[in-house]
């Protein structure tokens, strides 16, 4: 049922462009129903999951020869993620239906978005590392398509390519890690991995680092965070969804999912906590230096992703619980903030915070949603963000080591996130006379529904966290691998944690007052500094790759046919000749050569010499024809009638084509000079010798015709054919023939294109 619901999302993606054309605008609501369907089918399993504590699990054989199964599991962790993915996904679809309504390609946008929803749902449900990897890369691909939506802008293309290269590259590292993981456990199913065995394995460190490379690139951890701000070139619904609520959290999900397998060691603690903390601080610092609403939100997302990673690194029960609640809180408020930013952009034409002022009266609903979300984001009561921040401070205070450093980093970045919240929700809506390039009206329902729903849930869950039920506890249990029930209260007395929360808010508001007049200068300074960051390394590496490609293209793809032939022939000689030389000395049997063969060989040789010496094209064609016919006769001698028949037909048709194109070819003005033809002759003699040796060797290596006996024996019995050549072509190797027929047709289209261009040019 659940699996079918996920599949229906993929089918929806397939049909989206057509349905959108047929149904028009209401199609958006239909597509929004697909993720909701997944949510509903998952909800049916919730009682069994939460009450009886039994994870839902199904698996279908997929690649049985490798032991890979299409295994799906639903436990607390996947349920939390699934709820966020599908719930926010549905809201985003509705939002996008309005945001992009004037785009003629909206149907395709739905297709990409649903493809992404489906792969993300598959990712969090997968219980098999290979299935997880496939979905992981699918999210990278679909996000590439979405970021590059405005593909006519260079920035969008660069952003998409950067995201794909960074997250895709990390994904490949992760695949390598998975392979090692499978090797060391003998299992591909995540739920069957035995943590102890992996942690004691000598492969533990490589596995850990490779898997972390995948998680860190996807979740934009330092130093890979630069792709996330660049990805802000995507349309805002995409940014809101992929880059705050879901895709970037895939890395966090992976860390959580593999926590029982890989977590709890010194290495894990050090690497994950330190990288997370560093990301948290840098993200927050960079966020307050930006002017563009989306970039501010992007960097603050980076900061929170670092925070979540840090908590998973700490790995205590308190830290895991805090991570789960913070994850939910962040998805809710950041989704809402992104959508209100998009609405502002949509209605005013700018996202520059220094140019937007006092719009609350003109857009009351949007403003309310933004303010609520921002309060949650700042970690102020009574919203869910406040509860998350309390749990977060509690976990940091109780972390096993580095308490002081982690605490300072946490308070600093949280205070900066308060600044961010004020910047994105106070600045544009309040203070002074309304100012914007075009003064807006309140956005229509489809634009404010999403942010309002998310902001309202932040409020509801903040006031009565019991409405979240046992969900966070179940997720924490799944991450830890042991029961971790969770009690949340808005008010839990005057504690050091509450003091930290109050201090954070005060410092944050103070910082905002200090920074608010200096936005431009901060932005310039950050831009200058940012040019020296990891972006520089990436850009340099990318430019180097392009130069390498250019260089080898110039060397190898010269556009001269004889040069291509030379390269191909020499490569073949080296590749084939090296193993041949290594098997020296070998014995060659020259027995059994008879007179007709010698005669035909002599004709071939004579014709070959003539083809190289003649000064008339017609004579060359005739000589080549003589070679072809002689080869055909050799096939006849060895009773390969099929080959002979084909050969003679090809020869005949080649002559026809030659005759038709002959007078288009330039005349032989002069023969190649010796410095050209002598090296060519040497290369061709070496090539001929190599092929001759190879053929002689193959007959000595396999004295008994194993394959042909097999086909003779099976041909009639299994494929009902006595002509084994045909049986092989249409039955035993039918897939190859299908491929070859396709290649043939593609080659035909290529010829058509080439000749067609020539003809249009009037050549």
């Amino acid at each position: 049922m659940l699996a079918w619901a996920v599949l229906s999302v993929f089918f929806g993606a397939l049909l989206a462009p057509i349905l959108h054309r047929v149904l028009g605008r209401p199609a958006g609501w239909l597509f929004a129903a697909l993720p909701l369907g997944v949510l509903v089918s998952a909800a049916q399993l919730v009682p069994r999951l939460l009450v009886e504590g039994e994870a839902y699990h199904v698996s279908l054989p997929w690649v049985p020869s490798l032991g890979v199964e299409l295994a799906v599991t639903l436990d607390g962790l996947s349920l939390v993620f699934l709820a966020l993915i599908c719930g926010i996904g549905a809201l985003i679809v509705v939002y996008a239906s309005k945001y992009l309504q004037s785009d003629p390609r909206l149907g395709r946008f739905y297709a990409y978005l649903l493809l992404f929803v489906g792969s993300m749902a598959g990712l969090v449900l997968a219980d098999d590392v290979i299935v997880l990897f496939v979905c992981w890369e699918l999210t990278s691909v679909s996000s590439f398509l979405l970021i590059a939506w405005d593909h006519e802008r260079a920035a969008a293309r660069t952003g998409a390519l950067t995201a794909l290269l960074v997250t895709g590259g990390g994904g490949l590292a992760m695949l390598a890690g998975f392979v090692l993981l499978v090797l060391s456990t003998g299992e591909t199913q995540i739920s069957r991995f035995a943590g102890g065995a992996v942690r004691d394995s000598p492969l533990y460190l490589p596995i850990l680092l490779l898997v972390l490379a995948g998680a860190f690139t996807k979740s934009a951890q330092m130093p890979f965070s630069f792709w996330l701000p660049r990805a802000m070139e995507a349309p805002t619904p995409v940014s809101a969804y992929l880059h705050s609520a879901t895709m970037v959290k895939a890395g966090v999900y992976l860390l959580a999912r593999l926590h029982p397998t890989l977590g709890g060691t010194r290495e894990w603690y050090l690497v994950v906590t330190v990288v997370g903390a560093a990301t948290m601080v840098t993200g927050a610092v960079l966020a307050v230096t930006q002017k563009d609403l989306k970039r501010i939100l992007a960097y603050s997302t980076v900061s929170v992703l670092g925070l979540l990673t840090m908590l998973l690194g700490i790995g205590t029960r308190a830290a895991i619980s805090a991570a789960v609640v913070y994850l939910v809180a962040h998805s809710l408020y950041k989704g809402a903030l992104f959508m209100t930013a998009g609405t502002l952009d949509h209605e005013t034409g700018t996202r520059d915070v220094t140019r937007l002022r006092g719009l609350a009266r003109r857009m009351p609903i949007t403003a309310t949603a933004a303010v609520l979300a921002a309060i949650s984001s700042a970690g102020a009561p009574p919203l869910l963000g406040f509860l998350a921040k309390e749990l977060f401070y509690e976990a940091v205070l109780a972390s096993p080591s580095m308490v002081a450093i982690l605490l300072v980093a946490s308070v600093l970045s949280s205070a900066l996130l308060v600044v961010v919240s004020v910047m994105v929700a106070y600045r544009p809506f309040f203070g002074g006379v309304p100012a914007a390039p075009t003064l807006p009206h309140e956005a229509p329902l489809s634009l404010w529904l999403g942010p309002s729903a998310l902001a309202a849930s932040s409020l509801v869950f903040g006031l009565s966290p019991q409405w979240l039920g046992d969900l966070p506890g179940a997720a924490a249990t799944a991450i830890l691998g042991r029961p971790a029930p969770l009690e949340m209260k808005v008010w839990h007395g005057v504690t050091p944690v509450l003091g930290l929360s109050v201090a954070t808010l005060l410092v944050g508001v103070g910082l905002f007052r200090v920074l608010s007049g200096r936005q431009e200068r901060l932005f310039d300074a950050a831009t200058r500094l940012g040019a020296w960051g990891p972006t520089r390394v990436y850009d340099a590496a990318f430019a180097g790759l392009l130069r390498l490609a250019e260089w080898q293209t110039k060397r190898l793809q010269t556009g001269h046919l004889r040069h291509y032939l030379l390269v191909t022939v020499l490569t073949t000689v080296v590749l084939v000749g090296t193993p041949l030389l290594r098997s020296l000395p070998f014995s060659l049997s020259s027995s059994g050569i008879e007179l007709p063969e010698i005669a035909l060989a002599s004709v071939i040789l004579a014709a070959a010499v003539m083809a190289t010496r003649s000064s008339s094209r017609l004579a060359v064609v005739a000589a080549l024809g003589a070679i072809g016919v002689s080869v055909m006769l050799i096939y006849v001698i060895f009773s390969a009638l099929d080959l002979a028949l084909t050969q003679i037909m090809v020869e005949a048709l080649t002559v026809v084509i030659f005759v038709l194109v002959l007078h288009h070819l330039p005349r032989f003005v002069r023969r190649s000079p010796a410095r050209v033809w002598v090296p060519d002759a040497i290369v061709s003699v070496i090539f001929g010798a190599t092929v001759t040796l190879l053929i002689l060797m193959s007959s000595t290596l396999y004295p008994e015709p194993i394959l042909s006996e097999f086909f003779v024996a099976k041909g009639y019995a299994e494929a009902h054919g006595r002509n084994i050549v045909n049986v092989i072509l249409v039955d035993f190797r039918a897939m190859d023939t299908l491929g070859e027929a396709t290649v043939l047709c593609v080659a035909g289209i290529g010829v058509h294109a080439l000749l067609g261009t020539r003809m249009r040019k009037g050549a």
């Binding site: 028949l645 194109v661 494929a719 249409v730 027929a741 047709c745 058509h752």
Partner: protein
Amino acid sequence: MPSVILRAATPVLMVLLIIVSIYALLRGHHEPGGGFVGGLLIASAFSLHVLAYDVPSTRRLLRIAPHQLMALGLSIILLSGVIGLVAGGSFLEGLWATVPVPGLGEVAVGTPVLFDVGVYAAVMGMVLMIILMAAEMHS
């Protein structure tokens, strides 16, 4: 201007070549022949027509454009594969049945024959596409 003898002989030769090509196609599973050679043979029949007459009249005689023949061929190949899949086996699995045909007795038909027909059409289309274009350049 092609010779009168060629023009006179072409219709007869074409009929012969087409019959031979179909014969080669159908006997291919048991004797030398098959879709590839059959496709080349029928392509040569139409090439003869190009040499004896001109491209527009050959295109008229052919009725179907070469690129459509290629597409048709690939589609038939895929269809022959999908039949095996739908029948509960795997893609491209060969299925056989014997059908009574008046005058010939029991005739074995199977998806591999259909596969060969697809190859036949694809090869014919590919060769004719090149030859017709080359001939158009020529004229």
